[in-house]
Symmetry: C2
Subunit: 410 residues, 2 copies
């Protein structure tokens, strides 16, 4: 029997999906599962955009341009202008989701063995994309006590060595919901410029900034013409995860030329998804305003409920639709599996993403989980009911044990 | 300015698309371009399948399973059964086109520096996928004088060294149209078994076997349970290149487990494209029968016309919809560019793919081109008119020069 490759054996399992077999078994036994494990919103995809797909009258579903349809890229130019990001259609490369875009970027920006600095916890699949690209993620740990704010510029600078070729961030952040301010980003930009590093920013949640958090794009950092790269996707803002339409945007012409060669190898991004994506950009702002308000309400529900759960450490996320919380548990992997296998409240349970997969550093996040606010407030309350009771009865609960130990010692 | 990676600088340009700027300029000047350069058929996508997309009434275009929708994979099981290929839905991994599937396979099967034997000329983008995977293609050259038949098993065996981990073929072949017989494939399978190599076969043209050529799948080679892998796509058989739906099919459970982890990183294949793909499998055989007859007619047109062009060496391809011919020219890159820039016949010209990109060996294919029979016979005749006249007047023609030299020497 031929052996598969070493990299094929070690490629990381997505933490969002590794518990799926247990969820399937739970459902097969009749248990309802509230999915907070994956950023798959229950928000309807814009009906007008879906209607455009239904109205398509093409004869041949042909290859499109490798870099994406020009008409779509032209509309994206107008879309970005709303955020004062000035780019041309030639500076946009449409990908099969942000996932493909990130992967191609690994190849085009970095050589094998190069390092990219990423604040952790980070979007877990970065670990897999880095492994595919043979790139090393050098993590800088952020902490729950300040809502996972970016570390100081000094911390970034200390992490730079002769192999460092880039800094990669997600703003607003997945999994923490942290939004990075203009000042912080300008300082990071100055560092990227000083050390001639690519500054890659995954900005797929830019619409979802709450309270007084304001979105600022790395493409708007002056003098970062050749260093700044954004990753984008329609999946979250238009609840169109299945369309698989993302993008890379940069003004670096050498990089654009290389990326173009990479995307030509896979011929073109999904054709039907691009019809939908283009249609989303022809709608007014009402859809996104409503969606943002809905996520804001959900954020309040999760925050309030977590605040009232003993031993849970949490915070109010400033953006996106995630919260990364610390639980009074022995092991989040075990807890999340137990939720699916052994726990039930009113015929239901909740599915969460265990924290460890969101770190590159070892032994981190073992008592943390990511929750995605992708259910309506009614379901979210029920999911929080499950979580609240689960944390009281989970055999591996840590606060309880500490309390018991304290009682015994009296 | 940050430098892009070395691999990003050297990633090969797709030979199907590198002349596109010249084609665009020709069109801008009002010239009609007959595109024989890319396997983009003019055949209508099955109207019933497109209708299914139009009838979709989903509310949320959500992520699907990473390995593809179960309902689609179940129908694929029935589809493969028509070719006596017995597989289960779990042995099928749906990809974003054969391109993505091939790329993931490079990672899962091979380590960096491993070698895979590929008969050349081969589908040109294999060069790019191998570069991305840091895998070395060891080419075995096939020749036009026997219609690019596979070399002897001894030639394959001689190419095997300690780094060899696989053999990759395309059957029916792109770019040559050669169909490999059951006997040849059984012998190749025995070799793969003997040396414990993966035998990867790109079978996207399996419907298009003409005359007495019969299709035989590597998945039907006995005792190759863990070695055989097929690559598939709906792009060609259903003229749905823009859907971006492909597949990997194998019975190797360790490989399937690794591939599943890879595809989970990119979440899911295109959702709308899968609706179309599933619908194609619910139609009767009439569509494909008609399409095959149409390609057969086109094949005859191209063969007959090429036979009558002085100095052109050609053959009757047994399958697929390509012909790889040798022209009496100095350099196919130059000739193909000249066709777009400097040549015109009745307001039109023809676009072809230069041959060198289909080889891994240096200095091969410089006087060869690939032609795709993707236009109706009427347009194909006009394209052949252009080609016939172009070969007479091209300044870099070689036969003419030899003839002139012969005349002078008289």
């Amino acid at each position: 029997m031929p052996e598969i490759s070493k990299r094929g054996q070690s490629v990381p399992m997505s933490p969002f999906r590794k518990l799926i077999p247990f969820a399937d078994q739970a459902k097969a036994r009749g248990k309802h599962v509230y999915h907070l494990n994956i950023g798959q919103p229950d928000i309807p995809t814009p009906p007008k955009a879906l209607e455009r797909v239904r109205q398509t009258d093409m004869k041949v579903l042909a290859y499109g341009p490798a870099v994406g349809n020009l008409s779509y890229r032209e509309k994206l130019v107008d879309y970005y202008r709303q955020f004062e990001i000035e780019v041309t259609p030639d500076q946009i490369i449409v990908g099969s989701g942000a996932s493909e875009s990130l992967q191609i970027l690994m190849f085009a920006c970095f050589n094998q063995g190069d390092e990219v600095i990423v604040p952790e916890p980070f979007y877990a699949n970065y670990n897999g994309f880095a492994q595919i690209g043979d790139v090393t993620i050098r993590p800088i740990t952020t902490h729950i006590n300040d809502g996972f704010a970016l570390p100081s510029i000094e911390a970034f600078e200390e992490a730079i060595n002769e192999r460092t070729r880039g800094i990669m961030i997600t703003n607003p952040n997945n999994p923490t919901g942290c939004v990075y301010s203009k000042d912080v980003l300008l300082a990071l930009g100055a560092l990227a410029k000083k050390h001639d590093l690519f500054l890659i920013c995954d900005e797929v949640y830019r619409e979802f900034c709450f309270d007084d958090n304001e979105f600022f794009s790395v493409l708007n950092i002056p003098e970062l013409q050749d260093h700044a790269i954004i990753i984008d996707s329609i999946s979250k803002r238009y609840s169109a995860c299945g369309a698989r339409i993302g993008a890379i945007v940069t003004r670096n012409e050498v990089l654009l030329s290389s990326l173009t060669r990479y995307v030509k190898l896979r011929l073109s991004p999904p054709g039907l998804g691009q019809i939908l994506a283009e249609a989303t950009l022809e709608m007014g702002p009402d859809y996104l305003t409503e969606v943002k308000e809905e996520y804001d309400r959900r954020r309040s529900v999760v925050f309030k409920r977590l605040q009232n759960m003993p031993g849970v450490i949490s915070y109010l996320p400033g953006g996106a639709f995630y919260c990364f919380a610390k639980f009074p548990i022995d092991d989040a992997d075990r807890f999340c599996q137990w939720l699916l296998e052994d726990f039930e409240h009113k015929g239901a349970t909740v599915m969460l993403s265990p924290g460890a997969g969101f770190y590159a550093s070892p032994n981190m996040g073992y008592d943390e989980v990511r929750m995605a606010f992708v259910l309506n407030t009614n379901d979210l309350e029920k999911a929080m009911d499950c979580l609240e009771i689960a944390l009281q009865v989970y055999p591996g609960r840590v606060v309880a044990k500490q309390a018991e130990a304290a009682l015994r010692n009296k």
